[in-house]
Symmetry: C2
Subunit: 323 residues, 2 copies
DNA sequence: ACCGACTTCGACAACGTTGTATGGAGTGGG
DNA sequence: CCCACTCCATACAACGTTGTCGAAGTCGGT
């Protein structure tokens, strides 16, 4: 900028005014400065600008589990769209479900002085963020609540969705329903399992541990679990898969066996309507989840110190009955 | 940092040394400083640090079309993984195939002084990046080459893959093969169409414009195009879909009609093996594409001024014959 | 006792930008 | 003709950090 000023024969500050489109600069000087900017290939340094002018890096941090997962990719997409409306960019970081990594990344993002944080929490304790929040970095959690920290949160109605899914199967006459979940350690899985058990309990069906399978992390494990359940005495006649990876594995195994068991899966996914079996899913609007979270974040960035809000978004059952 | 220094009764510079784990500081002072840091909740400001110490923001920019697309999401994931190995984070920006937006975003990323850029180009002309490259920001292009700029590039063998796909259909005895593509304006589509036509030409089949359908942007359009081709006189007996969105639409329409036409699709996708029809695809290693590009970028960041390289990665035909 | 090498720490300037205070030129009213 | 006022441009300091240099202290060897 010094060079530009010299080249245009004006002061440093005048250059600053021109590149920031500030008023009160003669047109002639504006032209001279712009010419110099062009000639020298000058680019304003955002770092220095943000450093000097208090805080506005026009950058928000997004912490998710892994960007390759379509659910998180959609969140990233929408968050970026909303951010673009505020001339902001997104720094996306993946925690890979490791609380230690999560904390390191969040601290790093704060050190970069992002304007705000959008977090799908992996760990249980986020109290370390309190200092940052008090220093003025707004945080919005989505999909799962934070631990040890009162903050804005946008969630799905996991419990209600799961209840609806099980009720659907009960309505079809099923009485033995196999439930498969990723890990009871994950908030969403606990909620969904809770909802499923509420519905089973309300129908007067006793809890049967043989019908619940924890630790199903991928489609292959899901297929094995289904096989094992079907080969056991008094097998289930229907399955409720608590996420879409599990659903895929269940469908694959049932199709492989030509089984006629019914399936309801939590989470819709891109090609669910092309699956070789009739598949009913509990769907929700991932874009809406992300949109609400991102807009809440930017509202907080614009106007601090409002009471934290929690928003719960509905799910809906998509019935793709028999073909 | 000034406050910390005062609080610990040491100089500013000593605090700097401690937080950067520089040598030659008495253990006692280290402890005093760390205590003060803890007590005051001090966080080093990365912006100021990067500003002062020349250039190292530990941030790289990734420009893609849209993060929600699994192809780009995979690229983002791998790029972030590689970046993490260099203690860097990723700023991901979506051009949405708009060259104007692309240029704006790239300039913005440069203004943020990212250490390097990973770009899936949307526009035709990237000469505006030359100034930035000369200023020392390395750029690696992937999936498509840059326009008007010699730079490192990592590509797929689109042409060879398409040739193999068509040869596969020819080998099955098909002589009328419908080819559907997104847009001739996109580099990958041009290459793939070129490869397909090479294979058809080599088999002595004349060019038939009724068998090529441009402008197929989504599965619905693809289904319509397939319907139209099948309803025309002398319909194709096989289809070659030049990307996975098109493939899905083709499969959907053929399945809907109980058609026995063969399909080869460029791009593998997550549930391709569960499609209701036998589906052969031209697959490639997206992770490898991204890995090579990201590693090339960090090599350039570490050691500038090497001659630009172009890497072409192979594709492979995954034959999922009749069921 | 003296020298040189090494260790430890602090004062100061600088990175590239913007906020603040100030000065000088031009305008209009009394 | 002077004063108050607006408009435009400049000089200077400051944001939070790190590089440079030099001062002070320590230690071993002569």
């Amino acid at each position: 900028m010094v060079d530009v000023a010299r080249h245009a024969g004006v002061s440093l500050k005048t250059v600053s005014r021109v590149v920031n489109k500030a008023p009160n600069v003669q047109q002639e000087l504006v032209d001279r400065v712009l010419a110099a900017v062009d000639e020298l290939g000058f680019r304003r340094n955002q770092l220095a600008s943000a450093l000097r002018s208090g805080q506005q890096t026009s950058t928000v941090g997004l912490l998710i589990e892994e960007i390759a997962n379509p659910f998180y990719a959609t969140i990233a997409q929408v968050a970026a769209e909303v951010a673009a409306g505020f001339d902001s960019l997104l720094i996306t970081a993946s925690s890979e479900e490791d609380p230690v990594r999560e904390e390191r990344l969040l601290r790093d993002l704060c050190a970069r002085r992002v304007d705000g944080l959008l977090v799908v929490p992996a760990g249980y304790d986020h109290s370390f963020l309190r200092a940052e929040v008090e220093q003025g970095i707004p945080v919005v959690f989505l999909d799962r609540p934070a631990g040890g920290l009162v903050a804005d949160t946008v969630l799905l109605d996991n419990r209600g969705g799961a209840r609806a899914g099980v009720e659907h199967l009960l309505g079809e006459g099923h009485r033995r329903i196999g439930v498969l979940l990723d890990s009871i350690g994950v908030y969403t899985m606990r909620e969904r399992l809770g909802g499923a058990q509420e519905a089973l309990g309300a129908a007067g069906l006793p809890y049967d541990s043989h019908l619940v399978c924890d630790g199903v992390r991928d489609p292959v494990t899901a297929a094995q679990a289904v096989a094992q359940m079907l080969d056991a005495p008094d097998p289930p006649t229907a399955f409720f898969a608590l996420n879409n990876r599990i659903t895929v594995g269940v469908v694959q195994e049932l199709w492989h066996r030509n089984s006629t068991a019914s399936v309801v899966g939590f989470d819709d996914f891109e090609l669910s309507h092309l699956m070789p079996l009739p598949l009913t899913v509990i769907a929700y609007d991932t874009r809406e989840l992300a949109r609400q979270a991102a807009e809440l974040l930017f509202a907080r960035i614009a106007k601090q110190n409002l009471w934290p809000r929690t928003v719960v978004l509905p799910t809906r059952l998509v019935n793709r009955g028999l073909r």
